[in-house]
């Protein structure tokens, strides 16, 4: 059992439908602050040496995920235990280490869990998963490369990825060597209209590629398109340190005892810059989606490390452009592919390995998704509660999904490296038999921690897939051109396209991404220079309207909102109150009526009258209570 603090309410039984109760469960690593309260005195405990000098009446555990657990020991006779429990938590917290060997989870549940996953979210650890996904995206010019099967190209890369059809594995290996940490260009998403979204690391400037190498690099970036747009993802976006600082400030602001006066709340919120960073991400993602969906070209996201903002932008772009990604299943696959498999260093970023490289980029991403959910309430199959569940899961040590930095480490842990010899041959592939990773649990096994009733709430009742028809405009598939020098190469930066002379930095000019870019407010759109001169629409916009499934998010000051249900969960006074029953209430009413009608249909009307009074036809009270829940249900906890 992973190290945690759990509160078991009276009447709670081991064999309920979830092994762990998500509401009262606190992983030790998640504890941001522990307070003991007695009378008027309150003490903060957490440092290994801290000592408790009184018997606490109440302890408060502030989670780093903004949750708050308050446990009172008010009933008589609990005093000795109160002291013991508190000190035990302090000690356990001091000793815990998130990177410690993972002991695995109760396997009885595991077998059951994997069986009940309806369409299991592909973990993207086998070549089959990649092939299936490739077919789903109809990326015909691409194939699954097995060059990294032994993680010898890059440990941070997945074992499989997509490369252009015509590129040989030897060329892939050759080209990848010239990118930072070996993270060369791979396909992220193929737009049905024909353009491709690629991601890659920065060019490795110290290397000295020969002509062959350069050609390989170029043809990989070009991916058969005549137009290539390089997007510098670090440009205009916050640095990792910025993200971390903003998140710390946000957390301080949202603590129950933060001293910000209510009339200064807005400027304090602005001062955290968190919302500003969200705006920047949405704006950039929106720009890139327009680039990807409106013309046929190869759009390459380039970030030095290729493990943070590239994942964020690539995921956002897909959410904006691909209706499939907005389903519950699609979103989970997306996170698995663009974050987990792509090697986002979750452990480091979430503070598991020491503070230096900590930056909750993934949480920033979740907030961006929440903004989209607010702006387009009918376009997403999943609900805010799902996002909250995901938000709360990043520090829960039940599964390895978020507890390792690279696919390699994750694989090592779950002992799947014995499938070394597996060779993928397109056409006739058979699943590797009897490998243990089939049993591996992931965060997507929601029934480990959430009850069925909670999982039901992951669905957005307002989801209306017909709301946005996913019929794509017919577009010509690009004919793959003969490889050669790219006919036009652009750099997209600060909201503007700049022509580039060449794709790779090595030939003569200094490197493209050698300049460290910092986040800056976009200067241009407002100022006269660009906007006023070229205010007219480009002529081809009219002829090439944006596809109907594309969402263009708002990213103005008034449109970016504060995720109250997530960040203010620790404040008792905000936890109270109700959300309006609105859609789910109506839905229940609807199904109730339908049921009534169905029951009556075979009957003759006179009986109906008496039937109506029958208590059994009316929903039973417990079901009704399910409709109206606290505003923060099911993810808040205060009263224990």
């Amino acid at each position: 059992m992973p190290p945690r603090v759990t509160f078991q309410p009276c009447g709670w039984q081991q064999n309920q439908d979830t092994p762990f109760s998500s509401e009262y469960d606190f992983a030790l690593v998640n504890i941001g602050r522990l307070e003991a309260v007695s009378g008027l005195s309150r003490v903060q405990l957490l440092r290994p040496g801290s000592l408790l000098k009184f018997i606490p009446e109440e302890i408060m555990i502030h989670g780093r995920d903004f949750r708050l657990l308050r446990v009172g020991f008010e009933a008589a006779g609990l005093e000795p235990q109160a002291f013991q429990v508190t000190m035990a938590i302090v000690q356990a917290r001091a000793q815990s280490n998130p990177a410690q060997p993972y002991s695995g989870i109760t396997l009885s549940k595991a077998g059951q869990g994997s069986g009940s996953r309806k369409p299991p979210v592909p973990l993207m650890e086998t070549a089959e998963d990649w092939e299936t996904e490739r077919k789903k995206q109809a990326a015909r010019g691409w194939r699954v490369s097995t060059v990294n099967e032994r993680f010898d190209v890059a440990t941070s890369l997945p074992r499989y990825f997509w490369v252009p059809n015509r590129i040989l594995d030897s060329e892939v290996r050759r080209a990848f060597g010239h990118f930072h940490q070996g993270r060369g260009p791979r396909l992220s998403w193929h737009h049905p209209g024909g353009s491709d979204l690629l991601r890659c690391g920065g060019f490795y400037t110290a290397s000295d590629p020969n002509k062959e190498d350069i050609r390989a690099v170029e043809s990989m970036l070009q991916a058969g398109h005549s137009d290539v747009v390089l997007v510098d993802t670090m440009d205009e976006l916050p640095s990792l340190a910025d993200v971390q600082l903003a998140h710390l400030r946000l957390r301080a602001l949202c603590l129950p005892d933060s001293s910000v006066a209510e009339d200064k709340w807005l400027s304090a919120l602005e001062g955290t810059r968190w919302l500003d960073y969200i705006r920047a991400c949405l704006r950039k993602a929106s720009d890139i989606s327009v680039l990807v969906t409106s013309r046929v070209r190869s759009v390459i996201l380039q970030e030095r490390g290729d493990r943070d903002l590239n994942g964020l932008l690539s995921s956002l772009v897909q959410l904006l452009s691909a209706p499939e990604a907005r389903t519950l299943f699609g979103f989970q696959s997306l996170v698995q592919r663009e974050w987990v498999a792509a090697g986002h260093p979750f452990l480091t970023r979430l503070g598991g390995t020491g503070a230096s490289e900590e930056a909750p980029v993934f949480l920033l991403f979740l907030d961006c998704v929440w903004q989209l959910l607010q702006q387009f309430p009918a376009d997403f199959e999943f609900s805010e509660f799902f996002l909250l569940a995901l938000h709360d899961s990043v520090r829960v040590p039940d599964t390895l999904t978020f507890l390792r930095n690279t696919p390699w480490e994750r694989g090592k842990q779950s002992g799947q490296l014995n499938s070394y010899t597996q060779v993928y041959t397109p056409g006739y592939s058979q699943p590797p038999a009897g490998n243990s990773f089939n049993l591996q649990l992931s965060v997507w096994d929601w029934d480990l921690r959430y009850s069925n009733a909670q999982i039901l709430q992951f669905q957005n009742p307002g989801y209306d897939p017909e709301h946005c028809p996913d019929s794509w405009l017919p577009r010509p598939q690009p004919s793959f051109l003969i490889p050669g020098p790219p006919s036009s190469v652009w750099l997209f930066s600060r909201g503007a396209l700049t022509p580039l002379n060449q794709l790779c930095p090595w030939r003569d000019s200094p490197s493209l991404l050698a300049v460290s870019s910092r986040w800056l407010p976009r200067p241009a759109i407002s100022s006269e220079s660009l906007a006023d001169q070229e205010w007219g629409l480009p002529s081809h916009w009219g002829a090439c309207p944006l596809p109907p499934g594309l969402l263009l998010p708002g990213y103005l000051g008034p449109q970016i909102r504060f995720w109250k249900r997530c960040y203010l969960r620790g404040r008792p006074e905000v936890q109270m109150g109700l959300s309006s029953p609105t859609i789910s209430g109506l839905q229940d009413e609807l199904s109730h009526l339908q049921e009534l009608l169905r029951k009556w249909t075979p009957r003759i009307s006179p009986e109906v009258h008496s039937k109506k009074r029958d208590p059994h036809t009316i929903l039973n009270p417990t079901e009704i209570v399910g409709i109206l829940k606290g505003q923060f249900h099911p993810f808040w906890i205060t009263r224990c």
Binding site: D532, Q533, V608
Partner: protein, 722 residues
């Protein structure tokens, strides 16, 4: 001065800031459907409306897709509106731009550009460069004169319209809004709130004999002698506003005139003592006096805050928008408009606590009892009395507290433009407070935010008399026809509550909250006609079977709750530790910790993150703020769809039930068309087929056009140099 002719022309001279800004009332809202017939550019005039001046070949800037282009047409000014008649197809949906506010650099000879800011925050820009000089002169001075210069009450369009449309007006007999202009209305209200045991309606001011400030009929404590009312022209007497179910009442009083003379002060003092004695002894509850003139908001503060706040939304062009965007939150905060809203809501909660939990009477005191008194007393009633959350109830509330309560709409809205200092948006502040409540508890209200938005617009439509007088007395004395024979019947002025004048039935559905569920069982004493046949009855047993709040309801449970839930933490939100604040805090926290009964007491959240900007009203004309296919409308359409289904199922069940054919009942539904609506619906129906070109177009054009490449290169900073 910037006078750009066409799209993208000219480099970057920036328009100088206008040197003065002033406002004119916006006039009628036209639905554009009427004008859709092609090439119909004739001016539609209302009865009594006169064309004052016009200018042709005016270029109107159209902001669409964030790119500006222009449309030629005729600019017309009447005594009701300013209209632009385009003779270009693309101008069709821009005919009849009513409302305006003008601003330009000092009226030099011939301005080239005319910018009109409307009170509903729309901004129009016209270029006059291609217009004949004479016409420019005429139209500009005409507009200035008719929109900026002070005018007489009788010159309001209201009167010419009423005179001309005398025969056409049909008053809606089904309008159940209680107008409070008869003794009967007041008696009915007393009976409804069960206040008739301790309070009586008096007709001492009939014909405005006693004072012109008060309505002809009002309610005072039963033992109060009527001559007391006459003594200081209605000052210094407690006037009843509303009674709570537990017997406590909300009263208001206008302060006695300030006097220097000791003798008069002595008389005043003894008079007040007498009055207080009557209401201090049983059966009356303990009275708590709440002086709104001294310890609360000042009108000056409200005025300043709103004018700052408003500037955030009066956007002349994208440039301004993007410039302010980055500092949005701090600008918002520095206007302190949201903080003023919070303070009003908080004050109302405090008073609610006194009445509900402590069973005290509250006496609101203000100089004339006609500004903040109206605001606070309406808010209290809205929170405590579910009847006020129905549309009819809300309209009756406004009639009672604002129109009959003598709120000086004429001065506060500055309809006559005689004194800018008096212009204070108190009523708008009230609507914004109500919006916060509606936004936080949508199912509790029968009306929608759209209703509030159009109501706020109606404040400036000089067709309805509701918001154009300072007092009922002023209205009544101006009703007679001038000059003509006095025998003819008085003018028939329209009331704003007759929504059919403004909106077609289809559009009126947007004003009604489909999720509102009427109170499950109606008391037998309920007045007939309070139920509307279209109102939905929940088919489930009401989810909250909480009994309606009883006397002392909160008190019983708070102790326990506070101990368990809040512990010893004194909330940081209210730092004062005095007893009053503790009571408030207890009451507030305990209410919010319970499930909400939408037909009971309703309190707003007032923490920092909870007070929001009324986006529908303030952002609706800003194209940049549009989210295509998103926003609340997306949920609404889904909701309406489900509502319809529920309705039809219910009908089916009823049909089966009574084995009789239920009639049709097809909910008209504006939202159900398949097209994706914009988040600005139903206000700005902007055409936006594409995204804002975030990319400089030079780059776009060059894409796929290699020849251009070389020429363009120098325009961009080479990245190597950055």
């Amino acid at each position: 001065m910037l006078g750009k002719g066409v799209v993208g022309g000219g480099g970057g001279t920036k328009a100088p800031k206008p040197s003065f800004v002033s406002y004119v009332r916006p006039e009628e809202i036209h639905t554009n459907e009427k004008e859709v017939t092609e090439k119909e550019v004739t001016l539609h005039l209302l009865p009594g409306e006169q064309l004052l001046c016009e200018a042709s070949t005016v270029l109107k800037y159209v902001q669409e897709d964030s790119c500006q282009h222009g449309v030629y047409g005729r600019l017309v000014c009447t005594d009701f509106k300013i209209a632009f008649l385009g003779d270009d197809e693309s101008a069709l949906d821009n005919d009849f731009d009513e409302k305006k506010k003008t601003l330009f650099g000092q009226l030099k000879k011939y301005p080239e550009k005319l910018i009109i800011h409307c009170k509903d925050l729309r901004v129009f820009q016209f270029c006059l460069r291609y217009t004949k000089e004479e016409e420019v002169k005429r139209i500009v001075s005409g507009i200035i004169h008719h929109t900026q210069a002070p005018k007489l009450l009788k010159r309001l369009f209201l009167f010419s319209y009423a005179t001309a449309a005398q025969n056409n007006t049909v008053t809606d007999p089904k309008n159940h809004t209680v107008m409070f202009d008869t003794l009967k209305d007041w008696c009915w209200e007393l009976e409804r709130t069960k206040g008739n045991m301790k309070y009586k309606a008096v007709s001492v001011n009939e014909g405005y004999k006693v004072c012109e400030r008060l309505p002809a009929y009002f309610v005072v404590p039963t033992p109060l002698p009527e001559e007391n009312v006459q003594r200081f022209q209605g000052h210094g007497i407690p006037i009843w506003c509303w009674s709570c179910h537990n017997g406590s009442a909300l009263l208001k009083m206008s302060a006695l005139p300030k006097e220097q003379d000791d003798g008069i002060l002595q008389i005043q003092k003894s008079f007040l003592d007498g009055v207080y004695k009557t209401i201090h002894r049983p059966p009356y509850e303990i009275v708590k006096t709440e002086d709104l003139s001294s310890n609360f908001l000042s009108l000056q503060e409200i005025q300043t805050a709103y004018s700052k706040f408003k500037q955030l939304f009066l956007i002349d062009n994208s440039t301004e928008f993007w410039d302010t965007d980055i500092k949005w939150f701090s600008l918002l905060e520095s206007s302190s408009w949201l903080d003023i809203i919070r303070r009003c809501l908080k004050k109302a909660i405090e008073i609610t606590e006194c009445m509900e939990a402590q069973n005290m009477n509250v006496l609101l005191l203000e100089e004339n009892a006609s500004d903040l008194c109206c605001l606070i007393s309406s808010l209290v009633q809205l929170m405590m009395d579910p009847h006020c959350r129905t549309r009819i109830g809300f309209q009756s509330l406004i009639q009672k507290e604002w129109v009959m309560g003598g709120h000086c709409f004429l001065d506060r809205c500055n309809h006559l433009r005689q004194n800018d200092k008096e212009e204070v948006p108190v009523f708008l502040l009230f609507l914004d407070c109500v919006w916060q409540l509606v936004h936080q508890h949508p199912p509790a209200f029968e009306f929608t935010e759209t209703y509030l938005t159009v109501l706020s617009d109606s404040l400036y439509i000089p067709i309805f008399s509701t918001f154009f007088f300072n007092s009922p007395h002023q209205k009544d004395t101006n009703m007679g026809r001038e000059g003509q024979d006095t025998q003819s019947k008085p003018l028939n002025l329209l009331t704003v509550w007759d929504w059919s004048v403004q909106f077609e039935p289809k559009a009126q559905t947007l004003l009604k909250n489909p999720l509102y569920v009427e109170k499950p069982k109606l008391d037998k004493g309920q007045r007939k006609g309070m139920r509307f046949k279209h109102q939905r009855q929940l088919s489930l047993p009401l989810t909250q079977s909480k009994s309606s709040p009883k006397r002392g309801f909160f008190r019983e449970e708070t102790d326990h709750l506070i101990k368990n839930l809040l512990g010893k933490r004194i909330s940081k939100l209210i730092n004062s530790s005095d007893e009053l604040q503790d009571n408030f805090r207890e009451f507030y926290d305990s209410w919010h910790s319970k499930p909400t009964d939408y037909h009971g007491l309703l309190l707003p959240h007032i923490e920092g993150p909870e007070i929001k900007v009324w986006a529908q009203r303030y952002l609706r004309w800003i194209p940049e703020a549009q989210i295509l296919g998103g926003g609340r409308v997306a949920t609404m359409s889904k909701l309406l769809e489900m509502m319809e289904e529920v309705q039809s199922l219910q009908e089916k069940i009823d049909e089966r039930h009574h084995s009789q054919q239920a009639p049709q009942a097809e909910a008209p539904c504006l939202l159900r068309n398949s097209a994706r609506l914009s988040s600005l619906f139903p206000f700005a129906l902007l055409q936006r087929h594409s995204s804002k070109p975030v990319l400089p177009t030079s780059g776009w054009k060059a894409l796929g056009d290699e020849d251009d490449l070389a020429k363009r290169e120098d325009e961009f900073v080479d990245l190597g140099d950055v």
